[in-house]
């Protein structure tokens, strides 16, 4: 098992190198760079553009150089100094901008994952064991609604009701007085109070699909001979259900933790724009539009790295729950 994990970690290294190359190249593909779009923006506002100042900036950021030189500068800075480059738009080092937002995004993704598992698994198990009962139909209806209605729409609906009926401000992740405050226990508690609404919204979309997956997988397993034999051994229905078929039906959950988290990060982007949350999504979108390449590139690289790590975690989890995989590795 240990050798397996070490091998998987080693495989991650070339994967990450490849990802960094691809994301950096992709960022360079659109014509122009941050300074040309900056200049264009200034011109539309009717301001004078100082060509000389632009050129000196271009020099400073190394923009005239070939791509591989720029790439090497960026990557070696990350590895040797933990320097992710300079955000041109924010006039700040990238590392000052991203970590808090990344942390919030991951927290939100994990939180919504736990919520949706907590809802989807018991409901899916109930649905499968009471197939074609009224609660089963209700849950199916709920899950179709969840799959069909996009998360940002839920966000708008919930925001409307919370604001008008309950009088709660659901925008943002913090109360006003904590937004720029340093991290304290009170700030953390305040965050948790705000986190559950976006967590729930992201969860709704995924819960629905996971409920269907649990139901379908479990229905497949319920009629397998090993379940019948467990019953013939005299185990009570509840005991045998959770020990045998549910355990096997859960495998897809563990094997998809990785990209399930990545999916959530995408859903969070849209929802963060609607609810104005300080997650990575809105900032990354803006960085991409203004060609603020070091900021955008760092986000891309970090989120991809998270996906890769997520895949590793899901593989380890799967090997832990399904010994057939453990032994083949």
């Amino acid at each position: 098992m240990f050798a397996y994990i070490v091998r998987r970690v080693l495989i991650m290294i070339p994967t990450l190198i490849l990802i960094s190359i691809v994301s950096f190249t992709a960022l360079q593909l659109p014509p122009g760079d941050y300074l040309t779009s900056y200049a264009a923006q200034l011109r539309t506002m009717g301001e004078q553009v100082d060509e000389e100042a632009l050129n000196s900036l271009r020099e400073r950021y190394g923009m005239g150089q070939p791509i591989y030189v720029q790439y090497w500068k960026w990557v070696s800075g990350i590895i040797t100094r933990g320097d992710w480059g300079q955000s041109m738009e924010w006039q700040k080092p990238v590392k000052e901008l991203i970590w808090e937002r990344l942390g919030l995004t991951v927290a939100l993704a994990v939180f919504s994952l736990l919520i949706s598992w907590g809802i989807a698994i018991p409901m899916g198990v109930y649905s499968a064991t009471h197939q074609y009962s009224i609660p089963d139909y209700l849950m199916s209806a709920f899950s179709f609604l969840g799959v069909g209605v996009p998360a940002f729409l839920w966000a708008l609906i919930i925001m409307y009701f919370a604001q008008t009926k309950l009088g709660i401000n659901v925008g943002g992740l913090f109360s006003e007085k904590y937004i720029n405050a340093p991290w304290t226990w009170d700030k953390f508690v305040d965050m948790l109070k705000h986190l559950w609404i976006p967590g729930l919204i992201v969860a709704i979309e995924n819960t629905a699909g996971e409920l269907r997956t649990t139901r379908a997988n479990l229905l497949d397993e319920l009629n397998k001979p090993y379940v019948e034999l467990a019953r013939a051994k005299g185990l009570s229905e509840r005991k045998l259900l959770w020990k045998y078929p549910v355990r096997v039906a859960m495998n897809p959950f563990f094997s998809t933790v990785g990209w399930s988290l990545a999916n959530r990060i995408s859903s969070i982007t849209l929802m963060s724009i609607v609810l104005s949350l300080q997650t990575t999504g809105p900032m990354q979108l803006r960085a991409l539009m203004s060609q603020d390449m070091y900021l955008a590139g760092s986000f891309l690289l970090l989120l991809s790295a998270l996906t890769v790590v997520g895949t590793l975690i899901s593989d380890i989890l799967l090997a832990w729950v399904d010994p057939r995989i453990r032994l083949e590795a």
Binding site: A230, R231, G234
Partner: protein, 349 residues
């Protein structure tokens, strides 16, 4: 060996499956008895209701099937502790109507595994792929005998040894896919026997195995029976296995018992035309070349379960059918000789 004490009596059992396409009468009026220590063979083609009968006894008929009528009675010996057996030869017999119990209730669960155990058809699919065989066997021991983990594990190893599992100590933690089919079936047998059931239901336990392994498993079952003295209900479609294993046989066709007899009578004087046809469809070794004949098969196929023929359900395939009788009248179940019953209009008194 067969004893005088009745173990299970099945009376007019009917188990139907209610599907969208209609009702399938998988078991449609079955009567038979199993005695303590008896080996009863249950023979018939696929879909004749053998397995459903077994599952009805265990009360694990899968949905949408259910027992619609009939009675299954278990005659349980109350005193089963071996230390007292010598002092108290007149054991109390408790009558339990299994058909009256809640199939998922506590009492039925305590009967499954302790009084009646199952050895199913496919040893691969019948074991959970993600739990070790030791875990799956010890679970039964802990459930029914209320012992701790440690004792259960020791007993599991003993049981594996009993069923001829090589190196049980080292292999108790193996996962099913690490074992061969024969070993898996031995593990399943160990699991079934670990609480010393009075009745072992073996539902085609060797169908998925090759012939050599089959012979080993059959020998094992015979030895275990003489050692432990349980009754076996042996479900099979292989008449050769019946000849080797069983004392008595019931032949089933379309959810009914068509003939019940001792194994000798089955092979030497079969009465029902269906039994006779079954026996004619077995190839024989050592037949003289002059007598060489084509191997017969039973003509036609099993009727559609949604359109069971009127009268005797076998009449469309029967050589000896009487027009106007067999396709009209329900055949009665008659005892032609003591212990030899047949459901056929040819033997109507």
């Amino acid at each position: 060996m067969k004893q005088d004490q009745l173990l299970i009596s099945v009376k007019d059992l009917r188990t139907y499956f209610f599907l969208d396409e209609g009702t399938v009468r998988a078991v449609d009026g079955v009567d038979f008895n199993i005695w303590y220590g008896q080996t009863l063979g249950v023979v018939g083609e696929s879909g004749c209701g053998k397995s459903v009968t077994a599952r009805s006894i265990l009360r694990i008929v899968p949905r949408p099937g259910r027992i619609v009528s009939g009675e299954i009675t278990l005659y349980r010996k109350c005193d089963r502790s071996p230390s007292l057996r010598g002092e108290n030869p007149s054991q109390q017999i408790e009558e339990i109507k299994l058909t009256d119990l809640d199939p998922t209730g506590r009492e039925m669960c305590s009967i499954r595994g302790t009084e009646i155990a199952l050895v199913p058809q496919e040893p691969m699919a019948s074991l959970s792929p993600v739990h070790s065989i030791g875990n799956q066997i010890a679970e039964v021991i802990m459930l029914h005998q209320r012992v701790d983990k440690h004792t259960a594990r020791a007993r599991t190893i003993e049981m594996l040894e009993l069923v001829g599992f090589p190196k049980p100590k080292e292999r108790v933690d193996s996962l099913p896919h690490q074992l061969s089919g024969g070993l898996r079936q031995r593990a399943v047998i160990a699991m079934a026997l670990c609480c010393h059931p009075s009745l072992l239901i073996a539902d085609e336990p060797t169908t998925a195995l090759d012939v050599t392994t089959e012979a080993q498993i059959l020998r094992l079952l015979r030895n275990l029976q003489s050692e432990l003295g349980m009754a076996i209900m042996y479900i099979t479609h292989n008449l050769g296995v019946v000849a080797q294993m069983c004392e008595d046989v019931i032949v089933m066709y379309m959810g009914r018992v068509v003939e019940e007899t001792s194994v000798d009578a089955l092979f030497h004087s079969p009465l029902h035309p269906y039994t006779q046809a079954l026996l004619r469809s077995i190839p024989r070794l050592g037949q003289k070349t002059r007598e060489r004949r084509r191997l017969e098969s039973i003509r036609g196929t099993v009727p559609d379960p949604y359109a069971i023929p009127k009268g005797c359900s076998f009449h469309p395939r029967c050589h000896q059918r009487i027009r106007g009788v067999c396709d009209q009248q329900e055949p009665p179940y008659v005892e032609v000789e003591p212990g030899h019953k047949v459901r056929c209009l040819l033997y109507q008194p």
